[in-house]
């Protein structure tokens, strides 16, 4: 047995279209090893959001299956944290209340819960805004709350769909650094979906490059670069151009 945390095994997905079924994903195969940070990158229409929903248990594949720690994923579960591009914070709860939500579903005594909330707020640097409502926060802060909320219940695996797609470039590069810090500190396995090649090269241990029509894995690129990575570094640029050319072909 390997140390695979997530295995995507022959996943295909077809939708009913006007002119018969449309194939969105065609026999997608890859795995994410324990503690790895893997990015799925591809142009729009390559089925990466469909794949994200299937891996997260929000949709089911037409054929094939996804397993998490050996068990098939059949629906959303607390073992699998999900972070969306649009945050989907609960607007009626404060930052603290959002982070507490998952913990309230567990049988946890008050002290342990409070400690966990404080730990999560510290992890994403939001101690000062614990009592604010989401409507008072910037996009970057909202996404930090969403990350803290999903990590609070200690999932084995974190699945993120273009989480930094709605923030400005400067905030995004700051969030990249913070995500890498969180990843180092928690040792989580992370699968990160993006259309931004630079973002993928900045973050990933490995990049799953997808191409459209139907969505397929074109190649899996190992990114053998030390972190933190600089976008002007020669090796970085080489990786970036290689992934871009794979997408264009």
């Amino acid at each position: 047995m390997t140390d695979s945390r997530v295995v995507v095994d022959g996943v295909s997905k077809s939708f009913e279209g006007e002119n018969g079924p449309v194939r969105a994903l065609d026999a997608v195969d890859f795995e994410v090893r324990d503690g790895e940070l893997v990015c799925i990158v591809g142009p729009s229409g390559c089925g990466k959001t469909t794949l994200f929903r299937i891996i997260g248990g929000l949709d089911s594949p037409t054929t094939g299956q996804v397993t998490l720690s050996g068990s098939p994923v059949t629906g959303p579960t607390p073992d699998l944290g999900i972070v969306f591009q649009e945050y989907h914070l609960f607007p009626w709860r404060t930052v603290r209340g959002n982070v507490a939500f998952g913990l309230e579903q567990l049988e946890l005594d008050g002290d342990a819960r409070e400690r966990r909330i404080a730990e999560m707020l510290r992890l994403v640097g939001l101690e000062g805004t614990a009592d604010s409502y989401p409507s008072q926060l910037s996009g970057g802060m909202k996404q930090r709350v969403a990350i803290a909320r999903s990590l609070a219940v200690d999932p084995e695996f974190l699945l993120m769909d273009e989480p930094f797609g709605s923030v400005d470039a400067q905030t995004r590069s700051m969030l990249h650094g913070e995500l890498l810090d969180v990843w180092h500190e928690t040792g989580k396995t992370i699968l990160f979906v993006t259309h931004d090649v630079e973002e993928a090269v900045t973050l990933a241990d490995r990049i799953v490059v997808m191409t459209p029509g139907p969505g397929r894995v074109r190649e899996i690129v190992d990114v053998d670069l030390p972190r933190p990575r600089s976008r002007t570094d020669g090796a970085f640029v080489e990786y970036r151009e290689r992934v871009r050319s794979l997408i264009r072909e």
Binding site: H88, F90, S150
Partner: protein, 262 residues
Amino acid sequence: MSAELETEFGDRFTGDTSLRRVLLGVVGLAGFLLVWQVGSLLNPNYVLPGPIAVIEVFIAEVQSGEMVTALGQSVRHWLPGTVVGTTLGIALGVTTAYSSVADDLAAPLVRVLRPVPPLALIGFAIAWFEISTASAAFIVAAGAFWINYYAAYGGVDAVPEAFLDVSRSLGVTSHLTLVRRVVLPAAAPQIITGIRTGIGRCWMLIIAAETFGVPGIGQRIWTASTNIAVDVVISYILLMSLVYIVLDTGVEAVQRRVVAWR
């Protein structure tokens, strides 16, 4: 205006605007009273009594205890009717919007029953509850039900599917928890707007619900109308307005607190 100017002068302008609003409001009200007074001088008292005459009748009705009695009677129709109708309306609205089975079951029934005005139910009210407090409350409850049913249905229907996905991924497994912890708070703004609308509309419905002989403000207005006692009619209309203003201001304050997160 540029954004800079707006922040610089915004407060002063809004301050002026609200002061101007109050002043113009007072002018409007005074103008109305003046026209009313002049109109009353040109007509006999039974056609249009003047504002001062009405105030005198109003005070007399309060002092005789008639008005307090009528108010108490109407509140006894309004309060239970509104509470029962609101509760049932929210419960069924939430259930049908959340469960597609319940929605499919209820959809044709709702379409048939929805256009029936509460007053058309007087026959049932009398047959089931005779001429009593309960029969007037029944009419009021029917009015409250639909307002709250649609508000709750719309609110729950608009809850983003993603909230449910997120909740499940954070360990929520039962429908009851999902409804209590996610669906109801997410739909709360619409539900509370429905409650507020219902409270006001049901208070107005009292007039109609008391047409068939149940004592209260409505009946006082009906008898006074038959006796062409316009001053009494206006006194009780004034009472209805005053009660409505107090109720609505109270509910609005509660509403602001509950949806403070918006």
